[in-house]
């Protein structure tokens, strides 16, 4: 049975289909990586148009609250096993937008991230490197973020709801809010 699993993981690690959702500015290094100069198809990674077909979700940089909502929908549409790659500084600790009112600070509070890549933005070499690293992890059966998500669904959901479904002003100054409906 374990050989079977190893075999599955071997194949899974060699065929990453990536979701074509360019969430942040890190997506700018994806076209060069996808196309002729760096050609990530060599590693079996190809962009896919819909979340149903995809195996890996690249979170390419910062996420605005609006994007986060879409990203969560997208993630939940993907079929397990699925992996999330946190791309660049913004996903790790807010990056250069650390004090922005519309950008989340840490991705791992909302989605289970399997691999983080440092950089702002990561070079194509770093991206290819991370695919190789992810392949290794998958082959060893260590990348199990999707199981973690299911197991701790309540916790993730609570965090997601906290930022996405606000019912009162965050700064607690309703009397100053002069905005009309």
């Amino acid at each position: 049975m374990s050989e079977w699993k190893d075999l599955t993981n071997f194949f899974r690690g060699r065929s990453f289909w990536m979701l074509h959702y360019c969430t942040g500015c890190g997506a700018m290094e994806l076209p060069p990586t996808m196309t002729s100069r760096w050609d990530m198809e060599r590693f079996g990674v190809i962009p896919m148009a819909t979340p149903r077909q995809a195996d890996i979700l690249l979170v390419t940089g910062y996420l605005s609250l609006k994007s986060l909502k879409r990203l969560i929908y997208t993630y939940e549409q993907m079929h397990a096993p699925k992996w999330v790659l946190g791309f660049g500084s913004c996903t790790i600790n807010g990056g250069v937008y650390w004090d922005s009112y519309n950008v989340i600070e840490r991705l791992d509070k909302y989605l289970p991230v399997d691999l983080y890549i440092a950089g702002c933005m990561p070079r194509p070499e770093a991206i290819l490197d991370s695919f190789k690293k992810l392949r290794e992890l998958v082959e060893k059966g260590e990348a199990k973020g999707y199981e973690k998500y299911v197991k701790n669904y309540e916790w993730y959901k609570a965090n997601q709801d906290r930022v996405l479904k606000r019912t009162k002003p965050v700064l607690q100054k309703p009397e100053e809010v002069t905005r009309s409906a």
Binding site: N102, E105, L164, T167, P169, L171, R179
Partner: protein, 171 residues
Amino acid sequence: MLESVEKKVEELKRMNLEAKALGDWQFEVLVPRERTAEILAYMKATGYKTFIHLACVDWIDDQEFELVYNLENYDEKAQALVKVRIPRNKPEMESMMSIWGLCQVYEREIHEFFGINFIGNPNLKPFFLDEWLDIPPLRKDFDTLAFSQELFEFKEDESHGIKAPKRIEYK
């Protein structure tokens, strides 16, 4: 400075407006709120046909908002910044949609970011932000750092765990 700019500034001064050149090819003109539509229509009729942007500045010390209509004249190669000041405690302004339809989106944006009401604009629904309940974010009294610390629960703590840099090796 371009001749056309000079001429235009003179012309606007004759209309009892404060106008001055800002550079070779741009000038600003300060317009009272009630004459905005008139002046903008006049500007459009005199060649300033392209609407470049509508920006807002929050002069919190003066308790005023300043709306900046940026117009461009391709024939005379000139650019006009038409500025209007409105009181901060009653942030209301007439919509200029009848002159440039394009104003619709700019006004919607400013409504969202500064909380200014544009009378006559039919669609001021949330645009860039989702479910915003606080002070409009680009106002000067909105503290973005406090907001993000509160919402995203991160703290600027002093006690960093320190690690030596390392590089991942591949077999």
